[in-house]
């Protein structure tokens, strides 16, 4: 017994010694490491060339939409490179400063402050969620910096959040839900509609868009089921929808919520008795969900790469992207990054300066066709008026290749009639 205790004792001492050593090494190494790493951020400030055009680009590189964010940044870089290759603005080159907003509005606000205070950016473009976009908008425009937003929201168009420096390249939920709804309702699949709505502004905005579109077809609402944002399990929300027996189910949610709800609706066998409609049917979510789960789901999109068959600029854009990404085509949300930065740079070129006020005027006068056909910004709310695609998810058997996930059913041409009126948004004009 005593020998065992002795052994234990020595063991204990040895462990302590080892820990002591480790601990010291750890302190030394970490101190050195910290010093080296910490020197980084101060250096950037001195080395920058004064005359570059700097565009801040806060996107959620970490978090569930990391791959969308990376594509947005990659596409934005294409726009930068094109601009520089064409000689820039009287020789002034452009530079993209990508920052990680982590999909958190607080972090995004801080990153935007960094971009403005430390990097002295001329413009800000980016973000991938309504709350983040509103935060960036608040911080940038308050300081007279133009912000071109590339994620969906109705709120940003409204007079309370809009400023003259606010621009919105992405579509808004009113457009997408309106278009997807109009397409689905017009096909005489029945009059009964159910809504599954994520409980945040964006979700309710989509439902409103659907209802406006449904008026002229006399659609009848049989169920409105609200679910918490980022719900994991939709099984408790689906029975009520099934009991209501709708002909069409409108999914007013986004991204992972959309993926999870479609996945679980599919497992409940709901797709056999009703048509699923998703206003923002995402390319990447479809890749993550697989063809079987999404088969037959109808939705709206800003872009699908097969648009290249009919639109020349789409072909040019796709080819440039493919060249850099082993032949993979760009995604819908990635394309927003290209258009958002492209529009800013083109306006700066037109204005002959990067000062905010003249560029705002140039943006308002801008007619551009970067990747999907003609676009322009509406005067009152700076919403990009653009075409909306109606797409349907293909079954695995109909896919030509792994990227061929959607069939473009219709292209609704750009028109202000898709938007809410300026008065409805609280604007005077």
């Amino acid at each position: 017994m005593s020998t065992k205790d002795d052994q234990n004792g020595t063991d204990g001492n040895r462990t302590e010694d080892r820990h002591g050593l480790n601990r010291r090494d750890f302190i030394k190494t970490s101190a050195l490491g910290m010093a080296a790493v910490a020197a980084g951020p101060w250096i950037g400030g001195f080395a920058r060339a004064q005359d570059t055009i700097r565009i801040g680009f806060p996107v959620p590189l970490t978090g569930p939409y990391g791959s969308e964010a990376k594509e947005q940044a990659a596409c934005a870089q294409i726009a930068i490179d094109e601009f520089n290759a064409a000689g820039g603005l009287d020789g002034r080159m452009a530079e993209l400063l990508v920052r990680d907003d982590k999909l958190k509005p607080g972090e995004a606000a801080k990153r935007t402050l960094e971009l403005i205070e430390k990097d002295g950016v001329d413009f800000v473009c980016g973000s991938l969620s309504a709350s983040v976009q509103l935060a960036v908008n608040s911080v940038a425009t308050e300081r007279g910096i133009i912000y071109n937003s590339i994620s969906q929201s109705d709120t940003i168009n409204e007079a309370s959040d809009f400023t003259k420096y606010t621009f919105h390249e992405a579509m808004n939920p009113h457009m997408t839900a309106g278009t997807a709804g109009d397409y689905a309702f017009s096909r005489n699949q029945g009059k009964k509609v159910a809504y599954l709505v994520a409980d945040y502004a964006y979700g309710h905005e989509m439902m409103r868009g659907f209802k406006v579109a449904g008026e002229q077809y006399g659609m009848e609402t049989v169920a409105e089921v609200i679910h918490p944002l980022a719900a994991q399990d939709f099984s408790t929300f689906l029975p009520r929808i099934m009991a209501a027996g709708p002909d069409i189910l409108c999914l007013c949610n986004f991204g992972l919520d959309q993926l999870n709800s479609i996945k679980q609706a599919h497992s409940f066998g709901m797709k056999e008795s009703m048509q699923l409609v998703a206003p923002a049917l995402l390319y990447n979510q479809r890749l993550a969900g697989g063809p079987d789960v999404f088969e037959g789901v109808v939705g709206a999109a800003n872009y699908h790469w097969t648009l290249e068959d009919s639109v020349a600029t789409a072909k040019t854009f796709n080819d440039k992207y493919r060249e850099r990404h082993d032949g993979a085509p760009p995604s819908d949300y990635g394309a927003y990054g290209y258009a958002g930065v492209g529009a800013l740079l083109q306006a700066a070129k037109d204005a002959g300066t990067t000062r905010s006020d003249p560029v705002v005027e140039a943006m308002e006068a801008l007619k551009y066709n970067l990747y999907k056909g003609p676009e322009y910004f509406r005067q009152c709310d700076h919403q990009a008026v653009q075409s909306v695609l109606v797409v349907e998810s293909k079954p695995a058997s109909a896919m030509r290749n792994e990227y061929d996930v959607f069939e473009v059913k219709e292209v609704r041409e750009a028109s202000e009639s898709m938007l809410r009126s300026c008065e409805a948004l609280g604007h005077k004009a």
Partner: protein, 336 residues
């Protein structure tokens, strides 16, 4: 640098060389005049940072972690619900300014009253429990506040967060100040955080502070000595919540928005991380923790998208090898 020359091994054997002793003496001096020392450093701090918004952030989260440390480090109760006070302070101040046009100082005062009420209620329920249960009750109650504010869409903006806090023309004692200017904003914040640090220091030095530490070391003995443990815990919880509320209130002015995430338990987790990193139960620990955490996060985020790998590893290493945190370990090494 004197510290560089002094070998760490010799420090460990208590054979402190002259240069080391000088550092120790300097640190002693800092510890004696801790409020003054910290104020001098804070006055020049923004120019030491890569950008000034980060300096403001470190200040705010330092105050948040300091308030949290009163309950965690000094009283020994691990709370996962302190985001409720940070967030409530931010929302109450912001909502008063945006929806009711209350001037900023009135809005801040109102924010503190509301934080006090929330902290009083949560404290009453939570301080009845101990240990892990305390952590869980505070987590649950904190999340209830989160959902409650989330559902008050008309006032709080819900998921979109609260926007529209105007800070470009604040009147400070009749003088208009533009807080969009980062330097103005920093000193505006310091004008609140400086006195808060002083008050915190007074609380710790008071008999009340001694009772708190007595409870942390041995609750039963403290009770046997005739102290009202339950009431002391509750008061400590309330005070702790108030400091976090001030930090939140200032953060609303700092960002001119209030994101819903400020109420989420992840924000509570930040306070835990910062306190641990800096040194729980030490006066400067939370500020140093906030400084290291935010600076490292800022720097690593710009280098790699895998920043969580580094922060997570660092955290694990700290728990294993430096449980007293940076400042706590430094004091232990040199302070004796």
């Amino acid at each position: 640098m004197a510290t560089k020359n002094s070998r760490t091994e010799r420090l460990a054997t208590n054979d402190i060389p002259i240069s080391g002793r000088r550092v120790a003496a300097a640190l002693h001096a800092v510890a004696r005049h801790r409020v003054l020392a910290v104020l001098v450093l804070l006055a020049i701090f923004p120019w030491l940072m890569p950008y000034k918004a980060l300096a403001v952030d470190i200040l705010l989260y330092g105050l948040f972690a300091m308030g949290f440390n009163l309950i965690f480090g000094y009283t020994g109760m691990l709370s996962f619900g302190h985001a409720a006070f940070f967030g409530t302070g931010a929302y109450a101040t912001g909502i008063a300014m945006v929806h009711f046009n209350v001037p900023w100082f009135g809005a801040m005062a109102l924010g503190l009253v509301i934080v006090a009420a929330v902290a009083a209620v949560i404290g009453l329920l939570a301080t009845r429990t101990r240990g892990i249960y305390f952590a869980m009750v505070t987590l649950a109650l904190g999340q209830l506040v989160y959902y409650a504010v989330y559902q008050m869409t008309e006032l709080s903006g819900g998921e979109n967060g609260l926007r529209g806090i105007q800070v470009s023309e604040l009147s400070v004692l009749g003088v208009p100040v533009n807080l969009l200017d980062p330097v103005n904003k920093y000193y505006f914040m310091l004008a609140f955080i400086g006195p808060a640090i002083w008050v915190f220091s007074r609380i710790l030095a008071s008999p009340f502070g001694a009772v708190l530490e007595a409870i942390r070391e041995n609750e039963n003995r403290a009770r046997a000595c005739g102290y009202n443990v339950a009431q002391t815990k509750w008061v400590a919880f309330l005070l702790s919540g108030l400091f976090c509320g001030v930090a939140g209130s200032l953060s609303a002015i700092h960002l001119s928005i209030v994101p819903i995430e400020s109420l989420h338990y992840h924000t509570s987790g930040l306070a835990v991380m910062m306190s641990l990193l800096g040194g729980m139960g030490t006066f400067f620990g939370p500020f140093i923790g906030a400084f290291v955490f935010l600076l490292l996060e800022d720097v690593i985020t710009n280098i790699t998208v895998h920043w969580q790998l580094f922060l997570g590893t660092l955290f694990v290493l700290f728990v294993l090898f430096l449980p007293k945190g940076i400042w706590g370990t430094l004091l232990e090494r040199l302070g004796r």
